[in-house]
Symmetry: C2
Subunit: 128 residues, 2 copies
């Protein structure tokens, strides 16, 4: 179980983080996810963290990095399923995750990505 | 990280198994999943095992048990993302998973569940 699976759902990718992250696993996830965005021409990435009961600054930075990488590849990231204690910890760590929208569950995340993508294409402009 | 998250997607539930299963975790998953089926009135369950590079008879039995429990609650189970080596091992273990449909990825799994449910309701009969 060396890598975190990436599930393709239409034009979105879904990643469910359930295991303790360490450096190598985070790098593998970044590689797999960016490759997946390009391969599947994905427009959005959902990162489910409902299994995480606590986070540290390493996880917080990893989520930020993934969102920034996805944005450079023209894909929007949404973090879904955050537990209340995680929200508290992230703010206390000084990582308020600005620029990364959140949704309470996968369904709301899909709706949010749909709206973001339709909004962007409705203006006839790509999100840069 | 004591439990495996269950993601709600429309009328289906999605479980992605990424960690080594042990007795207690399997029991917790059975409890959570059956409760989730009833709570959300789910019609289908997708179990993603793309992260599993090998299985043993314990995992095989767990998958069978979950499918049987879901069936009793009027939900259809699909196993998605099985790796070739896992298919080989399951047959060699004498666990060919009869009665549990499989799909190569989540999208095909959703299509399969949709067809199964529409087929059942098209006949005007519930699957017993």
């Amino acid at each position: 179980m060396e890598r975190i699976p990436i599930l393709k759902m239409g034009e979105f990718l879904l990643v469910s983080i359930q295991v303790d992250m360490h450096d190598r696993l985070a790098l593998t996830l970044q590689d797999d996810l960016t490759a997946g965005i390009v391969k599947h021409r994905a427009r959005g990435v959902m990162i489910d963290i409902s299994a995480l009961e606590m986070v540290d600054s390493f996880i917080g930075r990893m989520l930020s990095n993934i969102a920034n990488m996805a944005r450079l590849l023209d894909a929007q990231t949404v973090v879904v399923g955050m537990q209340p204690s995680v929200a508290i910890t992230l703010v206390e760590l000084g990582l308020p995750m600005r620029g990364i929208p959140t949704a309470l569950d996968v369904e709301k995340g899909i709706a949010l990505l749909d709206a973001a993508i339709r909004g962007a294409s409705g203006n006839g402009s790509a999100v840069l």
